[in-house]
Amino acid sequence: MSGRSGRLVLASLFESTLDLLWRQWRAIGAAATGQPVTRQVDPEALCLASLVFQDREPRLWIVMSDWIRLAAPLVSVQRLKNLAVQFPDVGKGVAALGRVAWQEGRDARWKRLAASPQRLAPRTSPKQRSAGPALAAPPALPLRLRAAFTVSVKADLLAFLLGQPYRVTVSTAAVSLGYTVPTVFRSLQDLRAAGLVESADLPSAAEYWVDAGKWYDLLGGERAIARWGFWRETLVYVCAVSALESRPEHRGASDYARATAFRELASQHEAGLVRAGVIERGVPRSPSLGDWREFHDALAARIAALA
């Protein structure tokens, strides 16, 4: 396969993902252009995916670092650190982001991510482009609730449950948010005891939900609450594909080897992609590169449709 046709296997997916990242940044108040997304933004997943995609689009770093100067207190350092293992080769990027948030965002929590006390290089443009996190925007609900209740599992759980059309189990909430099951379980128990979360003990597993109607007046009506996006699952997969594609031995491999590598990777992420609603029937089992082009094109279209 020629390099050109090889790139076409993923062109639409990367284009769609970049568009998603820009629109998510726009939705939470960063100085990005485009139509803001309509679903809730996962801030840590957005930062990590932007670090991965900055090689393809260097302006992502400019927009992210500009935003983090004002929004650092609303981003979870611990969650960023936990989720970082799911994103390929982001270690240096996380440290760089930590330095910006610590030294320019004046948030000491980030110091432990900064890796070294090395001073930041002077900014190319000292002008602050973003006006700070757009807390009232529906997709920024997780940031809004963190601003209200501090950066915590409980704030994230409330945003997650408010964004659900159905009841969810502890394990679904835990895997979707990237927290451990015991942590989520304890937090849900507290929220239930406080009367903020409802629950039903079913034979299989307890299910939890919030009575969203009670929150409408407080948050500004039904439209102020965006659906949860499940973007982490999708972004983790696309970033893994991007990392695979950047390996010279993969780019130079035969169609069969490339297709089987895509299949292996997609199989590992299948459950997450189904949960995210970006695929319906599982991933292809085919060793044909053409089938993988179709799959990635369909995934790109689904990302665009859900954003």
Partner: protein
């Protein structure tokens, strides 16, 4: 679950080996193997028959005439085993379609000078050596002596068109492989049987 299939012909075998080689190349690994048996005969063009598997006799270090043969590692290296599994699944073959079962022959010893008679082919990052004709006759005669007279090893041996001298030389080597007192007689019977089949065909 679909029933496992066999290799229909040499093109089928070449495709499977090529795919393994492509997966190895993508993983940045390279291996050299020496094969015997029905798949090797198919690739040589000596026979054209269905076969279930590809038998690895040896692994090779180095290339060409300077290649040094050694017993296949047990288990096979992870990357190679994963490639075999992937290709087997894609082509509907058994997981053991590429196996090192003939490696037991190393305990009794290989024919002297076998490495120099191997003919090499390249399938991506997999170099496949096919044992030379004289060695193939030795291995087939050995297998036929352990098999039914109407078995496939005998017909494979006939298909190789061994000369009297080749059969004599092969019989000498095969008789040293088994200490059972009746074994040399079995070998002579097979040789006689092959000669009679070959003579009947010639008529």
């Amino acid at each position: 679950m679909q029933p496992l299939r066999t290799f229909a012909d040499s093109a089928d075998i070449r495709q499977a080996l090529q795919r393994v080689g492509e997966l190895l190349a993508a993983a940045g690994e390279e291996y050299g193997i020496v094969i015997v048996g029905g798949a090797a005969l198919n690739l040589m063009g000596a026979v054209r028959r269905a076969t279930r598997d590809v038998d690895i006799l040896a692994f090779a270090r180095g290339r060409g005439r300077s290649a040094r043969l050694e017993p296949p590692p047990t288990p096979l290296p992870d990357v190679l085993a994963a490639a075999i599994h992937t290709v087997g699944r894609d082509m509907g073959l058994a997981d053991t379609w590429l196996n090192a079962d003939p490696a037991l022959q190393w305990k009794q010893g290989l024919p002297r000078g076998l490495a120099g008679r191997v003919k090499w082919r390249k399938y991506g990052a997999l170099r496949v050596g096919i044992v030379g004709r004289a060695d193939m006759i030795r291995f087939k005669l050995y297998a036929a002596a352990d098999d039914h007279p109407a078995g496939r090893h005998v017909s494979d041996l006939v298909a190789l068109h061994p000369s009297d001298a080749e059969l004599r030389e092969a019989a000498r080597w095969v008789k040293r492989q088994d200490a059972a007192p009746q074994f040399p007689a079995f070998v002579d019977q097979v040789v006689a049987h092959v000669r009679s089949l070959w003579a009947a065909r010639a008529r």
